[in-house]
Every structure is written in C-alpha cells, then in structure tokens.
C-alpha cells in the first residue's frame, strides 16, 4: 500500500462522515454480496489496490501479485466498461430476449426460466481484455493503457448458450450472434449502445460458451455484469457481453457498436510499427494468444543467496491446453521447466510453480513463458505491432535482488 493511500486510509477514519456524505456513484445499486469499501477513491466492491485507469467509464486492472489465487476473487477481477452500468437492476423482472434474422422465433426468458428450463453448468473460464498489455506498444496506441492485469479466471455458473439458442431455434443461415446489454452510453442517450459485440455461431455453440449469473458462487459484481452476462473463453473479453438483455442470431457478421471500424481488430496481414492501416484491412480478433503471469512473489523481492525463491503463476490459451511453462533468470539465455497443474476445463488458466536457486548475488529478472498444445510460445519481446495495441503476450517479468 502506498504511503499516500495509507495516509488517506488513516485520515478516512477521522472523516467517515464526510466520505459517507459524499456522493457515491452506484452506491444505492450495490447488489447483495457487494461491499462498499469506505473510501471515496475506491470503487464499490473492488479491492482498494486495484489500479483505476479510468473512472468514466470505470476501467480497472489487477496488480499481478493480487492475482495469485487459482480463481480470481470477485473483488479482484478486472473491470473494462464501455458505458455506465445500469442504475436499477431487479433480478426478479430481468428479461433476456433472443431474436434476430436467423432466429426461428423471438423468445424471452426470465432469470428463473434460465435457471429451471436448462441444464446448469459451471466452468472455470479465463477472461482477458483484448488490449491487455497495450501499455508496452511503441509507437503507443491510444486507449486504456493496460499493464498486465486485465485478466482473471473465475468459476462461472449458468447455462450453455447453445441450449438456449437451440430452444429458440437457429436457422441454418446463422453466421454470428450479437449481444445487447443494459449499460448506458456515456452520453446518456438511450438510443446509443456503449458496446454490442458477439462471436461466430460456431463459437456460440461450443460447450463452454455460457450465459452466466454467478461468479465464484456469488452474484456477479455489478461492474462485471450483474445479473447476467455472456462468458466466452479464449476470445477477447469484450465478446462476453455484460448486463445481458438481448441476443440476436445474425445471418451476417454482427455489426453492433465496436464490431466495426478498427475496434477489436488487428491488421489482416502483419504491418511495420507505426503503419497506417485502412479499416478494410483490419480483421476481427477471434482467438487470444498464449500467455502467462507470475503472481508470486510481487516484483521487487529481495532474498538472501542461501534462500530458494518459490515462484507461482498462471498460464492460459485459446488452444486446448497449456503444455509447458518455463522460467529464465538470465534474460532468456536459458530456460528451466516449471511444474504445471492440469486444467479443470478448456479456457481455465493453469497454475505453474518452481523453486529458483540463484548462482550469485545481484539483480535478476525472472521471466516466464508458456507454450500451448498448438505449439505456440510467448515471445520475449513484443509481438507484432498493431494500430490499436491488442494481443500483447510478451513474457511477464519480475525483478528480484539477491543479497
């Protein structure tokens, strides 16, 4: 905790009245299970050490060392909002509409309908923002300058999207599904959607593609989509629509907000850093690349030469599974294998650990790189530059001093 934050915390004890008297955005909408942390600079329901990149709309990432749990606690799960979360959420009256040109009918479901009419499933699914790691790109890309923490893995509970789609009836010409949420455009204009993305119909039909109402056996936090959201593993998290009110089955690629132009797209063919790429040469990001994160220890650890350093972390991929995680303490000259756990299901991140012996005193960086079952490995330098700064899966690095 920073000294500034500590000071704020301590002074907060003496000025509770002021803080409670201040206007707290969304405070009246806090759903059950969300705690308000009594500091005006903190975001309700989220850990005070989360890094807030933007407060309108709220965008916050998780420092690597706070992601050490196998399942990311709800208060530590990153937030990437495009608009304002709905101000009033009543789960009793919430409706999900399924329609669209490739739907055989338009049908509405209450939360109760979803919970009773379909098989309930739980999957551990990693969600990562397409722009995670954008901060490192050069020339820089505009947008939230995500470091390493726009990623988390939770146990999601809900129903399979395909079960619901099939209950409605999917025409054979279906190409894509698109979502609409109850979030509000920053302008306040009810006719504008902050974001309306989706996935190809083949992805929607996968067993792990879900409509979820619970996150780690609790209500989904308001900022993460309460009371209902989509969850697609292995795709940019922006595909996993929050505050889910409507799904459209499309006979063409969905053309909602942030599906078109250059949003969540990368050059169809590799380009030189800084290149100008016309929209028609930008292709929609589908699968996210293989990646890993060292979550223990926090960067900056000093240890003695006589000590072994345990490291821990997670690795994830859009492929079937992680095959290998290695670490290097000599700037990538040599790599040693980590122990890895097997995944409970596809798109769950897998844990790795190792014990490091350092040969002499000095400054070290511990680098980790994962390789997936498709044989793809993380690069040590940045992957190909792209105008919007997506898909940075360069290996994670922490600094260690041995004295």
């Amino acid at each position: 905790m920073s000294k500034r934050r500590k000071f704020l915390k301590q002074s907060a004890l003496y000025t509770t009245a002021t803080i409670m008297g201040a206007r707290v955005v969304f405070a009246e909408n806090l759903p059950k299970g969300m705690k308000y942390i009594g500091l005006s600079e903190d975001i309700p329901g989220k850990h005070p050490d989360m890094i807030v990149l933007n407060d309108r709309p709220i965008n916050m990432e998780t420092p690597a060392h706070l992601l050490n749990d196998a399942l990311t606690p709800n208060d530590r799960f990153f937030v990437r909002n495009n608009g304002l979360p709905p101000s009033k959420v009543d789960p009793a009256t919430w409706q999900l509409e399924i329609s669209g040109e490739s739907a055989k009918q338009t049908k509405n479901y209450s939360l109760e309908d979803l919970k009773t009419k379909f098989e309930q499933v739980s999957y551990q699914i990693t969600l990562e923002c397409g722009g995670n790691g954008r901060k490192e790109y050069n020339p820089p890309a505009k947008g939230n300058q995500w470091g390493t923490g726009a990623v988390g893995c939770a146990k999601w509970t809900g129903v399979r999207l395909r079960d619901v789609l099939q209950d409605v009836g999917v025409k054979s010409n279906a190409v894509y599904i698109g979502y609409y949420g109850a979030d509000i455009h920053l302008s306040g204009d009810p006719n504008k959607d902050p974001i309306s993305r989706g996935v190809p119909i083949s992805k929607a039909m996968e067993a792990e593609s879900m409509i979820a109402w619970a996150m780690n056996d609790e209500d989904i936090p308001l900022l993460n989509g309460y009371p209902l959201r989509l969850v697609f593993g292995g795709y940019p998290a922006s595909c996993s629509g929050k505050w889910l009110e409507k799904i459209v089955i499309r006979d063409k690629v969905h053309d909602g907000q942030k599906m078109t132009g250059s949003s969540y797209r990368v050059p169809c063919h590799p380009v030189a850093p800084g290149a100008k790429v016309p929209d028609e040469n930008m292709c929609i990001i589908e699968e996210m690349p293989v990646k890993s994160l060292i979550t223990y220890p926090m960067t900056g650890a000093t240890i003695k030469l006589s000590q072994r350093l345990p490291i821990q972390g997670h690795a994830w991929t859009s492929a079937d599974q992680i095959k290998r995680v290695e670490y290097s303490i000599d700037f990538g000259s040599s790599w040693k294998a980590c122990q890895i756990s097997s995944a409970t299901n596809r798109f769950a991140w897998q844990q790795f650990k190792a014990e490091i012996i350092f040969p002499e005193r000095g400054y070290y960086e511990v680098w980790a790189r994962a390789t997936d079952s498709d044989g793809r490995t993380q690069p040590m330098i940045l992957p190909g530059w792209n105008p919007k700064g997506y898909l940075n899966n360069a290996c994670h690095r922490i600094a260690i001093k041995v004295s």
Partner: protein
Amino acid sequence: MPQQPDEYSLLNALMSLIYLLLGVIIIALGYLTMGDMIDWQTAQKRYTHEELQALTEDRKALREQSRSEEWDRIENGIHVNTGLKAGKHLDIVISSCTSCHSAKLITQNRASRAGWKQMIDWMQETQGLQDLGRSEGKILDYLAAHYAPTHVGRRQNLDVDAIKWYVLELEGDE
C-alpha cells in the same frame, strides 16, 4: 567605293582606343607604385581621441548586433547555430555547455533528469567542469524536458526506480 571612308574611320577609332588604354595602364601603374603616398596625402584626416573612440564603439556594436541576430536564429523550433531545441534556459545551456563541447553531445543523447545530472557530475569529477551554481537546476530542467528518453525498441527495461524493494519472508531454509 562607299566602304573606303568607313574603313579609315574604323582604323582611327582603333588607334584612339589603343592610346586611351595605354594611358589608363600608365596611370594605373603610377597609382600602384605611388598610391600609398597619394592616399596618405588626400585621405588623411585628423580625428580627436573622442571621435576615434566613438567610431570604434559604433563599429563594435554594429558587429555584435549582426552577429547575435544570426547567432540566436531559431528555425522550426531548432536553434540553427547549435542544433539544440528551442526552450526555456536554452541560453544558459549554450553558454554553460557549448563553450567546452559540441552541442551534438547533447542532441544525440537522451536521459532522464537523474541521468543528465550524472553526466554533469562526471564532467565535474573528470573533465574539469566547474560548479554550475544556480544554473545547474535550470540546465537540468531544459535537458530533462527536451532530451528525455524516448521509448524505442521492442521492449523497455523494467522500471527499476519505480519498484518498491521489500524483504521476502520465506519459510524454512535460512
């Protein structure tokens, strides 16, 4: 024949021209050999001491003015004479740094304020640079603002300065 008188007058004109040229050459030779004496005789004017001093100062001021106009010229944000970027305290940087070394030593380098300070310290410790007094802060402000590190390459160093180092408590082996 109508051409006849014309040919004679042409000959006459040529002869006159030759005599004229001969005269000019003689006068020029005379001037070259005796010019100094003529000059001294005709141009000598007696100045008072005050007049001489005033003349000298006028010329000095004129020379400095024209020199400084050229010297301070800035084009497209660049000080033409040194290649340094225009900005606050540029004058102090020029007078403190470029009397000993090329401005290129600045323009080709990039460093944080701390990095530029280290270079000044090194020049003081090993290159005979004197204490810069109150100018040092201003010079560092200028250098840090205009010659800061740019993010180049495919991967930056970890920000070691920003890391909060801590002792990691480990169980067991000690």
